[in-house]
């Protein structure tokens, strides 16, 4: 069961159009989210992590377009092509929230300050289920209790400003989990939170994954989080997945120069002062003027003139794929 695919993205290209210029935010991205597994997408800011999430949810801004590729969601009734649904049509609204739910990055702004927390949890239950009003209230209280919020009967009538950051994020998870979605997309769910609160949130997400077989796509920039939570990892750079595979593949045998540089640039707790961290030279290129071939080539220490030509994806093993011409020489 655990290897069943819940959502599959193939060669997705999402472009943004502003000021007569085109930003190829996603330039051919493919991955699968499997039931009961966590896929972590790592990368620096601006690499297209969040655009991937909004493409799946059909929450892209107006000036952007899915150019090509497919997003297929596999529900009981069969395959649904999310990319072909109208952005605010009935069908996508039925899926969004109920089947595919999302936790946003910033719990301070994602909740509406003028409605009570209870109302905001009830909203999705009201829309997606046919429970009675009383059942919805009872269910909302249960959800808050499951998330570990003390005194939920009282807290349900309070407003977001009366909650702390960690509690707000738990409310967000309660909303996302209210209809027991098959796929959960978490866009940097703990970046704004302290580490002790982060640990609580991760514990919760792990529980959901094992109990309800939810497929989780976790977007993060923290390699520590990846090591902790992921079953599979995809490393993104400038709108492409440069390396993907299981956690063991990517963290123990990093093959792409970018992944290796990324792992070398962070201090790891427990390695003490002896560790040498090595910064990646330069900064990410202008998104409107991307390098022709491998987008990492200008910063890559192994780059050759060949790297400026079009790159193809290759498989190292059945689970481990990479976009790099020279990985064999590097490893």
């Amino acid at each position: 069961m655990s290897n069943e695919i819940a959502l599959s993205v193939r060669d997705l290209k999402t472009y943004f159009y502003t000021n007569n210029r085109c930003n190829k935010a996603l330039n051919g991205v493919s991955f699968d989210i499997k039931k009961g597994q966590t896929l972590c997408i790592v990368g620096e800011s601006g690499c297209g992590k969040s655009v991937t999430a909004s493409s799946i949810m059909q929450l892209l801004p107006k000036l952007s377009r899915i150019e090509s590729g497919s997003i297929s969601y596999f529900c009981e009734a069969g395959e649904v092509r999310l990319d072909q649904l109208p952005r605010d049509g009935r069908q996508i609204r039925n899926i969004r929230g109920a089947e595919i739910a999302m936790i946003f990055q910033d719990p301070m702004t994602a909740l509406n300050p003028v409605y009570t927390v209870g109302f905001q949890i009830a909203e999705s239950l009201q829309y997606h289920t046919d429970l009675s009003r009383r059942q919805i209230v009872a269910k909302s209280i249960d959800l808050l209790r499951e998330m570990g919020i003390p005194n939920p009967e009282k807290r349900i009538n309070e407003y977001p400003h009366q909650f702390s950051g960690g509690m707000r994020q738990r409310v967000m998870i309660a909303i996302a989990m209210s209809c027991q979605p098959k796929v959960l997309i978490a866009d940097e769910p703990t970046t704004a939170l302290d580490v002790t609160i982060q640990a609580q949130i991760f514990q919760l997400m792990d529980k959901l994954k094992s109990q309800q077989q939810t497929g989780i796509m976790l977007i993060t920039h923290d390699m520590g989080v990846v090591a902790e939570l992921a079953d599979e990892v995809a490393v993104m750079y400038m709108g492409r997945i440069v390396e993907a595979g299981t956690v063991d593949d990517v963290l123990r045998r990093p093959s792409h120069p970018y992944t290796r540089a990324l792992l070398n640039s962070i201090p790891v707790l427990g390695r003490g002062k002896q560790q040498r961290i090595k910064a990646i030279q330069g900064s990410t290129p202008d998104p409107y003027d991307r390098p022709k071939g491998c987008s990492f080539a200008p910063r890559c220490e192994y780059a050759t003139p060949l790297c400026n030509e079009a790159q193809i994806e290759r498989n190292i093993s059945a689970s481990h794929r990479i976009i790099c011409r020279r990985y064999e020489e590097i490893v």
């Binding site: 963290l251 990324l262 962070i266 201090p267 790891v268 427990g270 002062k273 900064s283």
Partner: protein, 334 residues
Amino acid sequence: MNAEKSVLIEIKKLQLYFPVREGIFKKIVAHVKAVDGVDLQIYRGEVLGLVGESGCGKTTLGKAILQLIKPSAGAVEYHQQSQVVNLCQLNSQQMIKHRKNLQIVFQDPHSSLNPAFTIFGSLEDPLKLYGVKSKAERRKRVGDLLEAVNLRREYMDRYPHEFSGGQRQRIGIARALLVDPEFIVCDEAVSALDVSIQAQVLELLLDLRQQRNLTYLFITHDLSVTEYICDRIAVMYLGKIVELADAEDLYANTLHPYTQALLSAIPVADLDIKTQRIVLEGDVPSPIYPPSGCAFHPRCPKAIAKCAVEMPVLQQQGSGGTDHQVACHLIAVN
């Protein structure tokens, strides 16, 4: 660190309370105890890390040392070669003289530079204040410093929006270095940056410390960075320091339950290092009404009856002659 450590900054029983006002007469009903009785020595040439969760008073302590917020009580003694000055007793005019030696790098590189000024416009002010009269000289000094932080000299005529986050943070560091300080407070100086850029800035900070003999107070919430860069680490919880030790000692021999939980909560980017995670219940309590006794006792997995009644004090734990202080009843009992 070598044996003869000389104190640069000594903080004595520093308190900083923000009044909470209510009602039409704005009567003071309570105080937010942001910094509540901190004793701390910062030695010359060291990097002292100050870690803790948000709202524990790290930034406030950093600003209070530099008198950017006036402390309510206590003393900050600045040991110069010949004399000792209590910064808390100076007025702002007198303080300007010392600001030359005590500088700060702010957290957010996007809001700490004035968008309407060029980089030179922002950076020349401290030089003017400290008597560099000729513009040519100021341009030279600014240009030299930009080069010292690995930026190009020509960048001084650009505006902040033309720079990336990492570049802006380096401009912030250059600004702090302009007047040749000996002590710099780095307030979350790398937290807003991407990991690859973060490493560049950390390297720069360490290099500059070597070249210019600087002392840093490195405020951060990221314990992996602290371990890498700091000589000593102070852990803060709710306005108090709960543990203070040499960096290696703190990680090898963690004593306070809060520090243990904090360390175990950090996700480690290494599949071979697996820690037993201690997940704390609940949130940090309100600093307006801190819990009785030890402020950590409601969340502490090891709390005993005494913890709720009596406040533990920071005590020396003499294991092998190292400087390891901790405020916990359990440690004192053992």
